[in-house]
């Protein structure tokens, strides 16, 4: 309970407090301080979950599925706040944003963090929806922070597409509540996930399947699943880099988490009705299409942030496909992929953010020879790209390897598509990044004061996870796999 409060309250208070603080010199360190406090809370929370298995408070519930995601969210929130110190100082020096925007930025940063933590921690499907929609509302003004015509357009697109998309998820939620009225003893608890989960086999299968489709379309818009992804590259490329890091590293995960919670609820009645694979096929289809389409679109990007935005769609598609494939191994791979992708992608957006400041442009052809201009930044970008492409010994290799093994076992011919998609994505990213890292730098390119500590932290974590998964995390992921798929991750292999 106290740990939950320490996790959620700093960001909740922070959004009000920082709205009141006008001086940038105080607001930015305070933003970092609050994020550190939240991260401490999440570590304490993780410890509680470890010792007690479950932490509950009225309306909130942290179990093995959301505990690692909560720690991850608080961690990336903290490191990105650290990055934002220097990045935004540069932005302020260049007079790209006005006084009111500076205040808005930090307040909305904490609001965004709070809505994501709330969405992860809540036990109520309605609150989950409110929080995910709240995350959209908190970020639209951050996407249009620079007030350029492009950023305003990107924010408007983001607002409208995600707003309409997420409305479908609310319809799905209403249908679940409707189905719950007939199935559970206390109808007022009809949106409480733990109660619904307990009585899941009694829910009406047809209503639940319609509800799942609506929820998948709704939350899938926020995951960035093709063909609902159009907002994603625009919002990622036009917003400030710290926000791109949070959007890509965290928000997509939160939306996918919502889909997973609902999948568990829909699977039980559909199993009883004789359609055990319906939700799985939907996720597989959406995931595979997103993965392949994004891998193709990667090839023709000319903006470095759009390039990595498409790479996010690709990886979220891969994770979605893994959950759709089902079974212990693939589900474990999907969960693990969510964690390592989030760490890698946010580190990439940090280096990319500084790289655009070095070159003064986001266009790939204007950024050249980072290794010469600022070697540390160049290495950060290069190692991040190596990790995101799924090379050993980084963590993404592990998850992709597990996923392809699971695919070979159950749908052998699909593993060909997966392998060719991975090769295409690799080619797309490296062809574009090679001159950015190794080329001859233009004369005007100057190093900036960069904060590379977050990058080092993220990448060494991804490396560690690739070499050996710590037993605590493995245990959690194993139990979460059991919750999602009903079987142990490595049960079939031993």
């Amino acid at each position: 309970m106290n740990a939950l409060l320490l996790t959620l309250l700093p960001s909740a208070g922070g959004m009000l407090l920082l709205a009141a603080i006008a001086r940038y010199r105080w607001a930015a360190p305070l933003n970092l301080g609050l994020s550190i406090l939240g991260f401490t809370g999440s570590l304490w929370l993780a410890h509680e979950v470890l010792t007690r298995g479950l932490v509950q408070a009225p309306g909130l519930r942290v179990d093995v599925l959301n505990a690692p995601l909560l720690v991850l969210t608080a961690f990336v929130g903290m490191t990105t706040a650290f990055f934002s110190l220097r990045y935004m100082a540069q932005v302020v020096r260049a007079h790209r944003i006005g006084r009111s925007s500076r205040r808005l930025y930090h307040s909305l940063y904490q609001a965004f963090l709070f809505t994501m933590l709330l969405a992860l921690a809540t036990d109520n499907l309605g609150i989950l929806w409110v929080a995910v929609e709240g995350a959209t509302l908190a970020t639209v003004l951050l996407v249009s922070l620079y007030r350029t015509p492009e950023s305003v357009e990107a924010a408007w697109k983001y607002f409208i597409l995600c707003g309409v998309g997420i409305a479908q998820a609310l319809f799905g939620t209403v249908l679940i509540y409707f189905a719950a009225q007939q199935a559970i003893p206390d109808p007022a608890q009809g949106l409480t996930w733990s109660v619904l989960h307990q009585y899941a086999p009694r829910l009406h299968p047809t209503v639940m399947s319609i509800a799942f489709v609506f929820a998948l379309v709704g939350y899938g818009t926020k995951v960035g699943l093709v063909p609902l992804h159009h907002w994603l590259p625009d919002a990622h490329s036009e917003g400030p880099a710290p926000i791109s890091a949070l959007l890509s590293g965290l928000l997509l995960n939160v939306a996918l988490y919502a889909v997973l919670r609902l999948k568990v609820l829909a699977d039980a009645p559909l199993l009883a009705a004789g359609h055990p694979r319906l939700t799985g096929y939907l996720l597989m289809g959406f995931g595979l299409v997103s993965f392949l389409v994004a891998a193709l679109f990667l090839q023709r990007q000319q903006d470095i942030k759009r390039l990595f935005a498409y790479s996010s769609i690709e990886h979220m598609g891969l994770a979605t496909f893994a959950f759709g494939l089902g079974g212990g191994l693939a589900t474990f791979a999907g969960l693990f992929h969510m964690l390592v992708h989030s760490l890698t992608k946010s580190s990439l957006f940090i280096t990319v953010g500084h790289a655009t400041q070095v070159a003064g442009s986001q266009r790939l052809q204007h950024i050249r020879g980072l290794l010469q201009t600022q070697p540390a930044l160049g290495w950060g970008l290069l190692l991040g790209a190596v990790a995101i492409a799924g090379f050993p010994p980084f963590g993404l290799f592990t998850s992709e390897f597990l996923l392809i093994s699971a695919t070979l076992d159950r749908w052998p011919f699909l593993s060909l598509l997966l392998l060719s998609g991975l090769a295409m994505a690799f080619a797309g990213i490296f062809r574009q990044l090679h001159p950015v890292v190794f080329g001859e730098p233009p004369a005007a390119q100057r190093p900036v004061r960069a904060s590379l500590l977050p990058v080092a932290m993220h990448l060494s974590l991804v490396l560690w996870l690739g070499l050996s998964v710590p037993p605590v995390l493995a245990g959690w992921l194993d139990q979460a796999t059991h919750l999602l798929a009903g079987v142990d991750a490595f049960g079939g292999l031993q």
């Binding site: 409110v130 609310l170 209503v207």
Partner: protein, 227 residues
């Protein structure tokens, strides 16, 4: 079971729900911006009336609160804000020429049929009455989306967005007697924040493209210019 055999309150709910659907079609065909805002306000008022009726007939006092909330937000506050904004950006005499009026309305009718087809399998649950209402609320949601696609005006897109919310709320109230109170308050809060943000955006968009025409928001696309 014929609809006439239902108790009187339920019949009244049906009539009101049908009128909500009718206002959705009116929004679809309306060319004058100010009239659209008024129609949207009427739709919010009708949804609030249905909520109040449900509260009275099913003896659920917390629904009175959501009825008041709907009336205040959807029928009064948001239309008033839109009205003020439209006057501020001097669009109050704006009329729009519809590109394909007949096709749009026929498409709308098709969406209503589609909604009935989607909810067809739910029939053996409870009563046929619920199925009708679910179909109507789904239709209102889909018509709102059609409105957003068919119109080029940003204000009209906002009206479409908000009428989607109306449809969702109608579904929640009539099928399940409203959501739990915390959730309803949260949703209302989100809608309010969204309405305020729309206001901010009108001004930002007008500043950046000097128009509120969504067609002119076309700078970002995959066809990048060769610089």
């Amino acid at each position: 079971m014929t609809l006439l055999a239902l108790p009187l309150q339920e019949q009244a709910v049906f009539v009101l729900a049908a009128m909500v659907l009718f206002t959705s079609f009116l929004l679809l065909a309306q060319t004058r911006l100010v009239t659209s805002i008024h129609t949207f306000a009427w739709q919010g008022g009708l949804v609030a009336a249905i909520t109040a009726l449900m509260a009275w007939s099913s003896d659920a006092p917390h629904l009175y609160l959501s009825a008041a909330l709907t009336l205040g937000l959807k029928a009064l506050l948001i239309p008033w804000m839109l009205h003020r904004l439209v006057r501020r950006v001097e669009l109050d005499r704006h009329t729009e020429s519809l590109a394909w009026p007949a096709a749009t309305l026929l498409g709308g009718a098709g969406l209503v049929l589609f909604s009935y087809w989607v909810v067809l399998p739910i029939e053996h649950l409870e009563l046929a009455a619920t199925r009708n209402i679910v179909a109507i609320s789904l239709s209102v949601v889909l018509l709102g989306m059609l409105l957003m696609v068919a119109r080029r005006q940003i204000v009209q897109e906002v009206i479409g967005f908000m009428s989607i919310e109306n449809g969702l709320f109608l579904g929640a109230v009539t099928t399940a007697h409203g959501m739990p109170l915390v959730v309803e308050l949260g949703v209302a809060f989100d809608v309010l924040v969204a309405a305020i943000l729309f206001g901010v955006f009108f001004l930002q968009i007008r500043e950046s493209i000097e128009s509120l025409d969504a067609d002119r928001l076309d700078r970002l696309s995959e066809r990048e210019p060769e610089a």
